[in-house]
C-alpha cells in the first residue's frame, strides 16, 4: 500500500468524519470549525491530485473568506449552544434515510457504469493543476465566462447593498 493510498484513505476518512461532525455538533461554531476542517481535507486531496492552485484557492476562498464570514454572522447573532432547537427525531431519521437512499442510488449508478471501469486518476503528476497552464486557459479560452462572472459579482454587490442598506 503506497503512501499515496494511505494519504488518500486518511484524508477521505478525515473529510467524511468531520463532515459528519458538521451535522451532529450542536454548537453552530463547532459546525463551522468542522466544516473548515472538511475544506482542509479536500484541499489535501487537491494537492494529492496535484491541483495546487485549486488547493490554495480553496483554502483562501472557502476556509479563509467564506467560513470567516459565516463565523462572523453566527457570532453577530450569538446563537447559544442550547438555544438551537432540534428537529424531531423522526424527521432527522427520514432525512438521513433519504440522504442515504440518494447515496446508494448514485453509487449504484456509478458501479454499473462500465465506462468508468478501470479508469485511473492521475495522482501527483500532470501539470494542468498548476497556476501557469490554468492562468493561460483562463485568460485565453475562458476569458468570456470570466468576464461574464463579473456581471454576477456586480449583481451580487448591488443585491447586497439593496438588502443590507437600512
Amino acid at each position: 500500500m503506497s503512501t499515496l493510498e494511505i494519504l488518500f484513505y486518511a484524508l477521505s476518512a478525515f473529510a467524511v468524519i468531520s463532515a459528519i461532525m458538521v451535522l451532529v455538533s450542536k454548537n453552530p461554531i463547532h459546525s463551522v470549525l468542522w466544516l473548515i476542517l472538511v475544506f482542509f481535507a479536500i484541499s489535501g486531496h487537491y494537492i494529492l491530485l496535484n491541483a495546487q492552485f485549486l488547493a490554495i484557492v480553496n483554502i483562501i476562498v472557502y476556509a479563509g473568506a467564506i467560513m470567516v464570514l459565516f463565523l462572523f454572522v453566527i457570532m453577530l447573532m450569538n446563537v447559544k449552544v442550547d438555544n438551537e432547537p432540534q428537529k424531531k427525531l423522526l424527521i432527522k431519521f427520514i432525512g438521513v434515510l433519504s440522504g442515504g437512499s440518494l447515496l446508494t442510488l448514485l453509487i449504484a449508478v456509478v458501479k454499473q457504469t462500465t465506462q468508468l471501469q478501470g479508469k485511473q486518476v492521475l495522482m501527483k503528476d500532470g501539470t494542468i493543476g498548476l497556476i501557469h497552464p490554468l492562468g493561460k486557459a483562463l485568460f485565453s479560452d475562458y476569458v468570456l465566462p470570466f468576464e461574464i462572472s463579473s456581471v454576477l459579482f456586480l449583481s451580487a454587490m448591488v443585491g447586497a447593498v439593496i438588502i443590507g442598506k437600512k
Binding site: 432547537p85 432525512g95 433519504s98 500532470g126 486557459a137 443590507g164
Partner: protein, 111 residues
C-alpha cells in the same frame, strides 16, 4: 487510484451535505451544508479532470486535456462566494426582523 474511489468519496460528502440540509433547522448550518455539497462536486470535477488528463497523456504528451474541469471548479468557487454574500445578507435581514434563524419558523406562507 481508481476513479470510483473518488466518486464514492465525493458522493458520500455530497449526501452528507444533503442529509445536513434535511436534518438541521438553523438556516446558517443548512447553508453550510449546501456549501459542503458544492465542495464535494468540486472534488469530483477535479478527479474527473485528472482522469481524462491521465488518459490523454498516454497519447499526446503535454496536453492540457481536462483543464476545463479545474477551471469550472474555479468558477464554482467564484459563484459560491457571490452566493454566500447574498445568502448571508438575506439571513441577516431575516434575523433583524424575526430574531431567529430557525427555518421551521418560516411557515407564514403555506397551502
Amino acid at each position: 487510484m481508481p476513479i470510483q474511489y473518488y466518486i464514492f468519496l465525493c458522493l458520500t460528502l455530497f449526501s452528507i451535505g444533503v442529509t445536513g440540509v434535511l436534518t438541521r433547522r438553523n438556516a446558517i448550518i443548512v447553508f453550510m451544508c449546501i456549501e459542503l455539497m458544492l465542495n464535494a462536486v468540486n472534488l469530483l470535477l477535479v478527479a474527473f479532470s485528472k482522469m481524462y488528463h491521465g488518459a490523454a497523456l498516454q497519447t499526446i504528451p503535454g496536453t492540457t486535456a481536462g483543464i476545463d474541469a479545474q477551471i469550472f471548479v474555479f468558477f464554482i468557487m467564484v459563484v459560491a462566494a457571490a452566493e454566500v454574500s447574498v445568502g448571508l445578507a438575506i439571513i441577516v435581514m431575516m434575523f433583524r426582523n424575526t430574531h431567529s434563524v430557525d427555518i421551521n419558523f418560516l411557515n407564514r406562507l403555506k397551502n
